[in-house]
Symmetry: C2
Subunit: 438 residues, 2 copies
């Protein structure tokens, strides 16, 4: 028969089972943490009507879309979980309770240029709180506490959540009369870590900003010190603009409550240079960096927006949220050896029969499984060595051997595959041993 | 601003949070059960190269594909999880341990005619065991025990797993010299429950089967009685064909071991009329029906196949597996009220502050969350009645009220929202109460 070449598309992650176990454990930790903060699950379709998904036409994103027709319908694969949320809330607003706290973990699609570490299909893990008309600023402080808890749960340490408020930036641009170019200026400021202060000045000059105003901007983004020193410096800057003052006030509130949420001082900071590329956020913004691996960019970002569903409804629905791009995060942590897959098996124990009649092995498996222990039986008629090799290769923690002697005495031989220790005991004792050893 | 109409595509399930919680609970129960039997997770892409997915061109399925181009690539959304598994095993066979036991739970896509209860995007929950060269028949008996355990875990009872072996049918067709029309004959037999014996006879006559041979077929599919009586009748039929005998022998082995796996006699039966529409299965086949709702069709099906990856590799990889179509199952069980969503909230407790300073509320939440209790704080500055209404609407089981008095005494007021019971205690006692009450 003519064979087809089996291949997986470039830019699509497909893991071996051992790595998949690790990936799933990370995904479950994120989910459990989101649930601990009382967020509700939703699961929207991967395919949406193109006009719904592109209600807000999206610059860069639009080129990357997976768009196609089926019958008369123009369809697109979702490129994030925020637009589907906006649609969902617009459709169901009468059936939801506000503030609506939801999480969604699912795959999204962007036809980026394929390159190592960039994925066309990837998991986003999002939470958002949506208010009906208004939303208390304390929500903006709870989000970083969820970021902190989640990243800690993933086993990471030595990271910093950088926090800013877009109103501070917007106010400054109003103050220096550069409101029309604010998006451009923010894009430039956003790059300061990458391109340095001199290049920022140069690019600002290219934007027709006067030297005096460039000076003000630089004075502003040079603000430094402890969190409280920065907040103080923001207060003392000679800027009278009202939006600016509002932004500083909000930022102070957020910092006050982040502390109430017990996020340690070492794990967050005010960073006035953070703008988030998108022109979507309107208040608080967050980015999170691994201090020893800043080169990989923000691993967890988000912010406050005025009006989630404005392209679908007149209802005012302000929100604040965050997102973790799990596929890329997993890939990078794996690359830099910050996570490791030790577990290659789901089974806690492999039952190996030395006798042709497999009924005693099956009965033992029934008992263990009924007790909630992940159990596998080796069925194939292979040499005993091959059976143990299977357990070894899959790193199954325990084996139980059943031979004639075991059937006669009703005792099983259980072996710890790591230490090589063996003991004989009745099935009840085996259950206890394996349950206590989770 | 011009608004876009927010809508979800027909044939795509999108649930409110309460139903989503129930759906996710079912999905997790399935996953946990699959893991209890030692199956490994994999997660293949939703998008595959069209030539890979259509290596085996697929009749009906092909019309339903979501196919499109992106750049030079011809892409298709997966329509099941079996073809991606075949691809996966062909690619990774050198890195996997055989027998390879894998589960996959994910969305698949079929552009069916939209109608109530039919979905274009739906979850399949699959397990398969793949052997390298050969695979012990006992695996064919373990699968129904997983079916039984899983369906029980979903809270369903009164169901029957119907079991047959394709070799029995194939042998009979060889015996009556109607091998070329065997697929057609099986399709006719498969419909006996729907169209009745007379119509089966008529359709067989249309296939040019002689009256004598139609008699043999009917005698065969009339086989009835207990499981052992049926097995006995199969033995006694005057058929000397070797494949037939092999099939009967395999079926007997499977039944013997299903009993060893403790599947109660009431929950499985031999059904010689079951062929499974596909010409894909080569040995044991299964279908599962809810006895009181046979009209909804099989809720869990599967079978044995000779050669999983034959379109990609020369390696012989026999397998046996099963699949649950969760989206449709959820929809139907919901319709006929066999499942009910009682839980509308992920939070175990809502903390309500009677004082403007939310710090005591936040501190309490920190303690509860650190203890693993799903906790939410009501932040919005609303009247106390509105705060309780929110807890009511979301059916959050407990509320904790914090007022001046509570701050002074260090005791919290915790209220059981269902019974209305209230008590005052310190936060440690609250943690104990909520932890014991899972």
């Amino acid at each position: 028969m003519q064979k087809t070449v089996a291949k997986t598309l470039p830019g699509f992650m497909e893991l071996l089972p051992g790595e998949q176990i690790l990936f799933n454990q990370m995904r479950e930790k994120i989910q459990k943490t989101y649930e601990r903060f009382g967020f509700l699950p939703i699961d929207t379709p991967v395919i949406e009507s193109t006009d719904v998904l592109l209600a807000k036409a999206g610059g860069e994103t639009e080129k990357q879309l997976y768009t196609f027709t089926k019958g008369d319908s123009n369809l697109t694969l979702r490129f994030d979980l925020t637009v589907p949320l906006a649609k969902y809330v617009a459709i169901h607003s009468n059936e939801l309770s506000f503030p609506f706290r939801r999480y969604q973990i699912g795959k999204v699609y962007r036809g980026e240029k394929a390159q190592r570490g960039r994925f066309r299909e990837f998991y986003q893990c999002d939470i958002d709180v949506i208010g009906d008309g208004e939303l208390n600023i304390i929500n903006d402080a709870e989000i970083p506490s969820i970021m902190y808890t989640t990243i800690k749960e993933l086993g990471l340490d030595n990271f910093t959540i950088r926090i800013n408020n877009r109103k501070i930036l917007n106010g400054i641009f109003e103050e220096i009369d550069a409101k029309e170019s604010s998006v451009d200026i923010m894009r430039v400021i956003d790059k300061i870590d990458k391109i340095g202060e001199d290049n920022v000045k140069l690019e600002l000059k290219n934007l027709q900003i006067s030297d005096e105003n460039i000076g003000k901007i630089i004075e502003f983004i040079r603000i430094n010190g402890t969190t409280d020193e920065k907040l103080n410096a923001l207060d003392c800057l000679n800027i009278s603009n009202q939006i600016y003052k509002e932004g500083v006030q909000e930022l102070k509130e957020v910092i006050k409550y982040i502390r109430a949420f017990n996020v340690p001082e070492d794990y967050f900071t005010v960073d006035v240079s953070i703008a988030r590329g998108l022109d979507y956020y309107t208040g608080t913004v967050y980015e999170t960096f691994l201090n020893d691996h800043k080169e990989i960019g923000s691993i967890c970002s988000g912010g406050r927006y005025n009006n989630l569903s404005e392209y679908y409804t007149d209802k005012k629905l302000p929100g604040v949220g965050m997102s973790i791009g799990l596929t890329r995060l997993f890939f990078i942590l794996n690359e830099i050896n910050l996570i490791k897959s030790n577990q290659k098996s789901i089974s806690k124990v492999l039952i190996i029969s030395m006798i042709p009649d497999l009924k005693p092995a099956i009965e033992t498996a029934n008992t263990l499984r009924n007790a909630g222990i992940n159990t596998e039986i080796y069925f194939d008629d292979k040499k005993i060595k091959a059976k143990f090799k299977y357990a070894d290769k899959l790193k199954i923690p325990y084996t139980i051997v059943i031979g004639e002697d075991e059937v006669k005495t009703g005792e099983l031989t259980i072996k710890n595959m790591e230490t090589g220790e063996q003991e004989r005991c009745v099935v009840g004792a085996v259950v206890e041993k394996l349950k206590n050893n989770e």
